[in-house]
Structures are given as structure tokens and as C-alpha cells.
Amino acid sequence: MTYVIVGSCIKDDSCIEVCPVDCIHPKPGAPDFETAEQLYIDPAVCIDCDACVEACPVDAVYAEAEIPGKHDYALELNSLFFAELSTVGRTA
């Protein structure tokens, strides 16, 4: 299981601050941070702890099994972000 960030993310970085395994990217200061429209959770690293859910001020983080229908794209999109990243080099 993983948590997933949906498109209503406002790039408030509260989730990054609380993530114990550093699986939310891009991080402030990374080269792709400014152009990113939202933050993404790396499903291969997420430990399913829900700290980010608590921290998010706009409720944009969902458990994989609870993603609302209108955001059904989000699981694949979060994975895809990291898949593409691994081909161009990891962000800071």
C-alpha cells in the first residue's frame, strides 16, 4: 500500500516536513521543484504511515484504497513521476 497525492495539492510542503522516509518529491530547492504542479509520493518508498495525510492543509493525500473516483488517475501519475525521474536522474 502507498499513499497518493491528488491534483488539488497546493505544494504547501507540510507533508515533506513530516515524512519519515523522505518519499515525497520534488523537494524545495530541487531543480524540478518550481515547475512541478504538485508533489508526488514514491510508492516504492512510502511506508503507509499517514503522517502526510495529517499534515496536508487541503486534504490532497489519500490511501491508495480510498482514492475518490474523480482522482482515479492519481496512483498511476505518482508512480509515473518517479519512473520518469529514474531515467533522468534523481532530484535532490
Binding site: 491534483g7 504547501d12 524540478d32 515547475t35 512541478a36 486534504d59
Partner: protein, 454 residues
């Protein structure tokens, strides 16, 4: 002595700055000066009503600012009701968070015709901004044209095409809901000067446009030119690649035939003139090609010898960028449309520091980024402010009573945090009766009446 800080503008940038300042200096006395009787700026007046989840940020703003002792001084305009110099006599530091209050024009003939508007005017109107409620948008035409490929363009397109049933479950202003109920608009054409790969929509906004109930999305002749293919491969962002994937998918899927409304995305088109006899009747559009300039940027150039295409329409909404306006008593950069500043410390155009004056948000960096961008931006400004505090002189009138006396004289209809609490409670209670998240009070009179106790 506790530092006293005035924040001019209680929008997201001002709210993040106040929160940040209180984290760094728990003893700071922070006052918001706000032109409207309500706080949170574009979170209330800009974020689309069908994006309610984002509006939850107001709870965080409240908790981190007003609930921690920040004062809300609403319905007061700095520059008219109180001057910058007066603020400087009452506060250790003044932080401008006034945003970008006007929009860029197209600079084409016919732009001033009735029926041609800034998209932000429609946004302020449907979001219940009290200064815009009396605007009359003629929605009796069957086609509207939206110029620009950013998220404000996407917002207005959604609001013009979504069903009134769906909108009726949001906090859209009642006057807008009534007008949209009578709307005869069947098609909204979106013009983008560059191509699909350069569209500024976030993929989240673009995806929504393709999945609205009862709305077909037509992407005419989607093909990527070689310049964009190359750019996408070596410089494209994840969002640009996602947008191209989405547009390809939309272009290839069958038309949603039974849809009563339709959105048409038209790329590589620039408006050249808006035409009509006394009101908007059509828009002339030319075709562009993309060229890569020496600095690597992709630019749109009008194609030579192509015929100008005429699109009949009764409503034109431009959304091609925003601009800050100069503020009385403080420096302004007339070319960049910001307060000249370094990391938030305001200086004169000649480069001399203006002690005790700071900027945050769009008035500091220009109209870029999304809500959360203001959090880092605010941190940078507040870091500078806190570092400077020891060296800043105490103001001549360093107490809240002096500000209160000044405001009693200048702003008799002041709305405080308590007044806003009453407005909020009133709106939420009406919302709960109507099974909506909130029913907004959209005139100053109604807002002021709700803000007074009893």
C-alpha cells in the same frame, strides 16, 4: 519591546507571512490591513467554487494567524483610509502582500467592446467579490471565446460549461448561479498562442476539462510540431509531458455525442481583432508557428499569408497574465510590476533600502506559482524581517490603542476578526440550510450588516 508588524493584504501571501512571523517571533504583534471586509484574498475570491477542497486552507490560515492573536482590520484601504507614512508611525515594519490586482490587455482592436472582459472579472463576479457583483455578463450568446491557456482560463471555461446542478452545490455567488441558469452558451473555444506542449494548464486542470459531465472536449488536429517534440524531450517538464499525453488521449477518443455543451481547444492561434457593432459579435484569429529563439525559448510567430479565421461569438474573456498596480507612498518597478526588492526587503529603484518595508507574494515576485509557493516566499521575507528587527527603530506610536484611535476616525465601518467570525458563521449557517458548503454574502452592505453584533 515587542515588534509591531502591519501586513497589508490578508490574502494567502499575507497569511503565510503572518504565520511564519509568529513562529519566528511569538511576541510579535501582527495586524492585517485588508481592503475587503473578509480575509484570505484569492482563496475566497479566486479559487474556483468547484474546487472546495482547496478552500480548506482557510482553516489553517485561521488557526495559524487570527487564532494566535493576529488582528484583522478589514474594510480599510491602505493608501486612502490610512497612508503608508501613517503605518510607518505605528509599526516597526510594514509588509506589503497586495498581489497583482489588474490584468494584461491583449492590445488588439475591439478589446473595449461590451462583451469583452478580463477573465478575472468573471472570476471575481462568480466568487462574490463585492466590487464585482453588479457586472452584467451577457450569457445569451451560444459561443464564448477564452484567450489564454493557464489555470484561470481553465477555471472560467469550467464555470461556463458545468451544469447548474453541480454549481448549485458549491459556494458560487447566488447572482452568478442565477445568471448561469439562464445561460445559452453551448460552446467555449479556448485559444492558445503556442502549442499543446507549452500550455500553462496544470495537468490536473486539463484533465478536469476532459471529464466534465455533459461536456464534449474537442482537440482540433492534435499533432506536435518537431520544435515541440525536441523541446519536450530535452527540456519538457513532467506536467508538459502529462498534458501532451492527455491531449493525445482526448483527441483520439470518440466525441461524447449527446453532450449539450462543448469545449474546443485551439492551439497556435492568436486573436488579431474583436469585432462587432456596439458589442462583441466575432473574433478574428490568425495561425501561428513555433520557433525556437537563440535563448532556447519557444515563441509563436504569425504564419505569413494565411487567411484570418473569424469565429462568431458574443463573449470574449482574456486571461493572458496579471499585473500589480503601484501603491501610494512606496517604490514601484514600472517594468517588472513589483515592489523593487531583494529577498523581500524593499528598496528604491536606485537601490537604496527602505528600512522597515517588505514585500511578499505576487507584489514581490510577480504573478507566478501556486498557493503553496507563497509559503517559501513568505519564509524568505520573514527571515529578512526578523534579522533586521533589532536594527529597526521603534515607531513613534508603538501601541495598539493609537492604531485603534486612528482607525476609529478613518474607518468607521472597520471589520475586525470578530466581525469576520460573524460573517463566516452567517454564511456557513445559510450554506448548511441549503446543503452547500457556504452561501456568500456578496455586497458590502450585507457583509457589514452581518459583521455587526446583534
Amino acid at each position: 519591546m515587542a515588534p509591531r508588524v502591519a501586513i497589508v493584504g490578508a490574502g494567502p501571501a499575507g497569511a503565510f507571512a503572518a504565520a511564519c512571523l509568529l513562529r519566528a517571533r511569538g511576541d510579535a504583534e501582527v495586524d492585517f490591513f485588508e481592503r475587503l471586509p473578509t480575509p484570505w484574498g484569492l482563496l475566497r475570491g479566486g479559487v474556483a467554487p468547484d474546487h472546495q477542497e482547496i478552500k480548506r486552507l482557510q482553516d489553517t490560515f485561521h488557526r495559524q494567524t487570527l487564532a494566535r492573536g493576529c488582528r484583522f482590520l478589514g474594510n480599510v484601504e491602505v493608501g486612502t483610509d490610512v497612508t503608508h507614512d501613517e503605518l510607518m508611525r505605528h509599526y516597526t515594519a510594514v509588509v506589503y502582500a497586495t498581489g497583482a490586482q489588474t490584468d494584461k490587455s491583449l492590445g488588439i482592436p475591439g478589446e473595449e467592446l461590451p462583451g469583452s472582459w478580463a477573465a478575472t472579472e468573471l472570476v471575481a463576479w462568480y466568487n462574490g467579490h463585492p466590487d464585482y457583483r453588479d457586472l452584467e455578463f451577457d450569457l445569451s450568446c451560444t459561443r464564448a471565446v477564452v484567450i489564454g491557456n493557464g489555470n484561470v482560463a481553465a477555471d472560467v471555461v469550467r464555470l461556463l460549461t458545468r451544469s447548474v446542478d453541480e454549481l448549485g452545490r458549491t459556494d458560487i455567488a447566488d447572482h452568478a448561479l442565477d445568471a448561469l441558469r439562464e445561460s445559452r452558451i453551448e460552446e467555449v473555444v479556448i485559444l492558445g498562442r503556442r502549442g499543446p506542449a507549452q500550455a500553462a494548464f496544470t495537468s490536473a486542470e486539463l484533465r478536469e476539462l476532459g471529464h466534465l459531465d455533459g461536456v464534449d472536449l474537442d482537440v482540433d488536429g492534435f499533432e506536435l510540431d518537431p520544435v515541440s517534440e525536441e523541446w519536450l524531450a530535452d527540456q519538457g517538464t513532467f506536467t508538459a509531458r502529462t498534458n501532451v499525453r492527455l491531449l493525445r488521449e482526448f483527441a483520439e477518443r470518440p466525441a461524447r455525442a449527446a453532450s449539450p455543451r462543448r469545449i474546443a481547444l485551439r492551439f497556435l492561434r492568436s486573436p488579431v481583432a474583436i469585432r462587432g457593432d456596439g458589442r462583441v459579435e466575432a473574433i478574428d484569429v490568425c495561425r501561428n508557428e513555433l520557433v525556437r529563439s537563440a535563448d532556447g525559448a519557444i515563441r509563436a510567430l504569425a504564419l505569413d499569408g494565411e487567411e484570418v479565421e473569424t469565429i462568431d461569438c458574443g463573449l470574449v474573456l482574456r486571461s493572458v497574465g496579471y499585473r500589480a498596480v503601484p501603491l501610494p507612498g512606496v517604490p514601484f518597478d514600472e517594468r517588472a510590476f513589483v515592489l523593487p526588492n531583494e529577498d523581500g526587503r524593499v528598496h528604491t529603484p536606485a537601490g537604496d533600502r527602505v528600512p522597515g518595508v517588505y514585500a511578499v507574494g505576487w507584489i514581490k515576485r510577480g504573478p507566478t506559482g501556486i498557493l503553496g509557493t507563497n509559503k517559501r516566499d513568505a519564509q524568505e521575507t520573514v527571515d529578512c524581517l526578523v534579522e533586521d528587527l533589532d536594527a529597526l527603530p521603534a515607531p513613534p506610536h508603538p501601541d495598539r490603542a493609537a492604531v485603534d484611535a486612528l482607525l476609529a476616525e478613518r474607518a468607521p465601518d472597520l471589520v475586525t476578526a470578530e466581525g469576520w467570525r460573524l460573517i463566516d458563521r452567517h454564511e456557513l449557517a445559510r450554506g448548511s440550510r441549503e446543503r452547500r458548503p457556504r452561501v456568500k454574502l456578496a455586497s458590502r452592505d450585507e457583509l457589514l450588516a452581518a459583521a455587526s453584533p446583534g
